[in-house]
Amino acid sequence: MKKPSQFDAIVVGAGPSGNACAYTLAKAGLKVLQIERGEYPGSKNVQGAILYANALEQIIPDFRDDAPLERHIIEQRMWLLDETSFVGTHIRSEDYNKPPYNRYTILRAQFDKWFSSKVREAGALLICETTVNHLIMDGDQVVGVQCDRMQGDVYADVVILADGVNSTLARKAGFHGEIKSENVALAVKEILFMPEETIRQRFNIGEESGVVIEMVGRITDGMMGTGFLYTNKESLTIGVGCMLGDFKNNPNRTSPYVLLEQMKRHPAIAPLIEGGEMKEYCAHLIPEGGFHAIPQIYGNGWMIVGDSGGFVNAVHREGSNLAMTTGRLAAETVINAKAASKGYRADSLKAYKTALDDSFVMKDLYKYRDMPKVLHKNPQFFTSYPDMVAQAARTMITVDGVDKKTKEREIFASFRKTRKLTGLVGDAYKLWKAIR
């Protein structure tokens, strides 16, 4: 029996994808209900967190006026670490220090709360502290959601799932199967508070500018993954994420918190975080399967946006911007479908997929489609290579009476010992093919 729709659209989740979607829908005058299980938007959400301005700018052009932003990024460091040393690059440019800034650090609990306030201003109805347990179907059409509240059934013409990486709802509805442990990374992180002045001195930055450090090497204990250290206003975020399947299969049975603690003690990192007061410990999954892991994302009366659909570019550590863009494009699809009175069956919601294919989201994911496989089949990118580079640099720079030519020969011999030349060339080719 068909129940009358109470809303044009229901958006499940108030992360960046859900907020972008609900905002765009409400702004266009549609009747929108947004449901969030957290006490407030952001209370369940974890990120590094770098905010890429462009995706948000397309939704709220003047977000800089009042969004809670920590620091704009003027410098990026990439570090390769072995047990005791690191080799790295720094990219710092004064161009990054001129408005409009391109990237910021944020704190998700605060940012999501702010974004959500904009959604409500635009006219959407938000209900927090409510978990959606199931989708309500009428035949093969999604017609509403069932919440864990008294009289918790709500009906709408279309339901947009912005429920994050675990996507319990889509799985329960049978839209796709369980996530594979090799397609998802488990990340843990801590926030360490320290005086602003200390951060400025340690990272050689001004009042509002910031630094991000991305790390690969021994810190992940042979697993495919990376570490990160970001500067906030009065705190540092430090974390590490590795493929969940690698955690599971790691012969050392290393726990995520042990990995993080070891990383914090690395001689390259310890001095930067010294004295920081730990105020929170978080964990979250990141869908890193890329292009090949993206499920069906639309159907009769439903669409999937953000992490729920696996929209993360792991190579460039982008997720929130893909989330916002998918949320916006899904909303625009609904707005167009309503305007054209085309209904909300799969054949009309298909426009969402077409719009995504035309956007940077699918183009980038397609470009890196083979990357997860290449990295996963070649763990040396996370073990012997960083070791080799660090050792080589150390050998060349140590002044010990050995001539440079001999050193070069030693380095080359050690490279070959670690990995046969054909292996090295092959790896370089595989990597090049995957990122080309």
Partner: protein, 99 residues
Amino acid sequence: MTAITVNVEEKLFQNRYRVDAGRPHIKIKDADICTNACGSKSCTFVCPASCYKTEGNGNVTLITDGCLECGSCRIICSEHMNVEWEYPRGGHGILFKFG
């Protein structure tokens, strides 16, 4: 890597939770499977909140109070599918202050 020991409880102590007392959102479906059929017991070291523990007799216990709601335990138990996993009731569970 030289293994170090970490006190996870101390870390979790910094977090804010609203525990739904008496209503754990994650359950082990069949304790027997953990004890007798599962060799790796990977939940006991992969869970970032150390909610799963092995006991001397090979049993696995689960206390969800410190759960960070990541979803890892459900996904890694793919061989036995012995984890019944739901989000806590709305408003309960971990409440990130910074995220």
